[in-house]
């Protein structure tokens, strides 16, 4: 089902003595095509969970409209919205077996929607097969591992065949290895069911790896929407550039003089159609090439050899952080013996931002 958010704003009233009004979500506009997997991404407090709560109906927007398909659901109570939700802590009822947990939403159905025992059992078995928990149905949640609980939570959300599936930080309670498996799993289940899915995360890697589109948020505002690779390759501002990518992007102070990009008075790249000014330069770690003729010079601090590639930890006076990180090919190790290393930069990995409002400066 296509989802449409129009000018959605959520303002929380003042609380406490010196409380301030909080604009948790600010003029949120987004169209989510049917059947896509969308990652809402942002640091904590950016309003992504509030957005999710408004989608499922636990919170009502202060302003704006939400549409599921053509239907206006802005003020519709959650039980009528046909949404399935997976909570961060899974919220599995601890006193009920897995079977009863999954059946719970079906048993709530009333009147004409009411299902027979047989239908319920069929749906239960279908969804249990889908998430591969058929052999765990008689267990209690606390007898399951984190990953299994996660699957049960997804099963419970899917069993009522929702129009929309919402996942709140679905992977944050799992250990690193399980996280990799589970995110693949979520992707597979989403592909199989073709349910429009929105998930919230603060982990950029998670969002990038499985989303059809990511929505980067900050302070309640959408920063950028797009396919993960697009957003990564074309960040609209410094925040987005910094937020995506691991290791994070390296930030330097620089200057544009007559179309040339200068870092520490060295011309590192040329041919920019940007007016002369002080700028912020952000370079992806993979944007460095070791080259003795390179004009970007950095002082080597240490090397972290990872086999396929080498992470060079170095510093440069123009760098806004103490050190920065460059990822170079493993075979370049011989060139890294010196203290001062010369780099050439890959132009498509270098982004230039306005010094004041940190917006991307277009060089076209």
């Amino acid at each position: 089902m296509k989802i449409c958010l129009e000018n959605v704003t959520k303002i929380f009233a003042k609380s406490g003595k010196n409380g301030q009004e909080v604009k948790a979500v600010d003029d949120f506009n987004l169209v989510i095509p049917d059947g896509e997997l969308i990652g809402l991404l942002g640091p904590s407090g950016c309003g992504k969970s509030t957005t999710l709560n408004m989608l499922c109906g636990l919170e009502e927007p202060s302003l704006g409209k939400i549409y599921f398909g053509d239907e206006d659901v802005t003020n519709m109570p959650p039980e009528l919205r046909q949404v399935g939700m997976v909570f961060q802590n899974y919220a599995l009822y601890p006193h009920l077996s897995v079977r009863k947990n999954i059946l719970f939403p079906l048993e709530n159905l009333k009147k004409e929607k009411k299902l027979s025992k047989k239908e319920m059992e069929d749906r239960l078995n279908n969804v249990a097969n889908l998430v591969q928990i058929s052999d765990l149905l008689e267990r209690k949640p606390k007898e399951l591992s984190g990953g299994q609980q996660q699957r049960v939570a997804i099963a419970r959300a899917l069993v009522k065949m929702p129009n929309v599936l919402l996942l709140d930080e679905p992977l944050s309670n799992l250990d690193a290895r399980l996280r990799l498996n589970t995110r693949e799993e979520i992707r597979k289940i989403q592909r199989a069911t073709k349910i429009t899915t929105i998930f919230v995360t603060h982990d950029q890697e998670e969002a990038m790896s499985i989303s059809d589109q990511i929505v980067v948020m900050k302070d309640g505002k959408i920063q950028q929407v797009g396919r993960p690779q697009e957003v990564y390759d074309n960040p609209i501002n410094l925040f987005v550039a910094k937020f995506l990518g691991n290791p994070p992007i390296n930030v330097f102070e620089g200057k544009i003089i007559d179309g040339g990009l200068y870092i520490l008075n060295q011309k590192v790249l040329d041919g920019y159609k940007i007016n002369n000014q002080d700028v912020i330069v952000a370079i992806r770690p993979e944007g460095f090439i070791v080259d003795d003729n390179g004009s970007f010079i950095a002082n080597k601090q240490s090397l972290e050899v990872m086999g396929r590639e080498i992470s060079v930890v170095a510093n440069n006076d123009a760098c806004v952080t103490k050190t920065f990180r460059a990822l170079v090919q493993g075979e370049d190790i011989a060139k890294l013996a010196k203290e001062d290393i010369h780099f050439k930069l890959k132009r498509n990995k270098v982004f230039i931002f306005d010094k004041v409002d940190e917006r991307r400066l277009n060089d076209e």
Partner: protein
Amino acid sequence: MNRHSYKAWLYLLPALIFLIVFLVYPLFDVFIYSLEESYNFASQTYTGIGSYNYEYVLHDPYFIQAVQNTFILVIITVPISTILALIISLGLSSIKALRNLYQTIYFLPYVTNTLAVGLVFMILFQKTEYSIGLVNMFLSLFDISSIDFINGPYWAKMFVLCFYTIWTVLPFKILVLTGALASVNEDYYKAAKIDGASKWRIFSKITLPMISPMLFYLVITGFIGAFKAYSDAIALFGTNLNASGMNTIVGYVYDMLYGTSGGYPSYASSAAIILFVIVLTITCINLLVSKKYVHY
């Protein structure tokens, strides 16, 4: 037994010693007294050994009256006070404004003294030559003729006793249950709401099982407390409970030891053992029932 369990036993020893000296040994002693006929504290003598004391106590009309009173008290006050406390706690946890004020007000009776509350109840319910009492004044509004709740008919006295007991146990139960309700994770309610559960279903399928350990604790301690009731009756009806027909089992034990009919430690011991057996049985039944309904 490995080294660790030695240590564990060592740490448990102080508590264990106190329990044995002050609980196990006296219980054992009381049991022996209860079998010794006409035991005399002063001379430490007795006339024979057997079940005579039990026969006497079980045929004593005062004891039968006391058992009847106690059971009525237990059966009426435990469920009513628990359900009432649950309703009030649910109310308290669903309001935001003034919640703390209400919580304090509901807790106040707990910090007041039993006898002081008893006095207040007497003033409210008692009918004297000078006044018919506040409750009777209220009843007269509905053309109900005045009743003496303190010295009048049995059911009236029992009503006051139950009312009073519920009143005094309520604050603690409310305190425990509001705490239990607050500790239920909000996400369960949110999940249930999204899944379209009705209010009643949320309450019966989620809230109730989630707070069942606390409810169970209240029921068990409620049963035990009500079985051991004594001071409440004294506060309302004075020390001569046999005369007013409002004695309880503990009251009977006390009377046999020290009361006007006192000086019968053997009878008192038998009555105490009978009470012990009753409480133990009821608690065991509670525990068995709880296996099915309490979720930890």
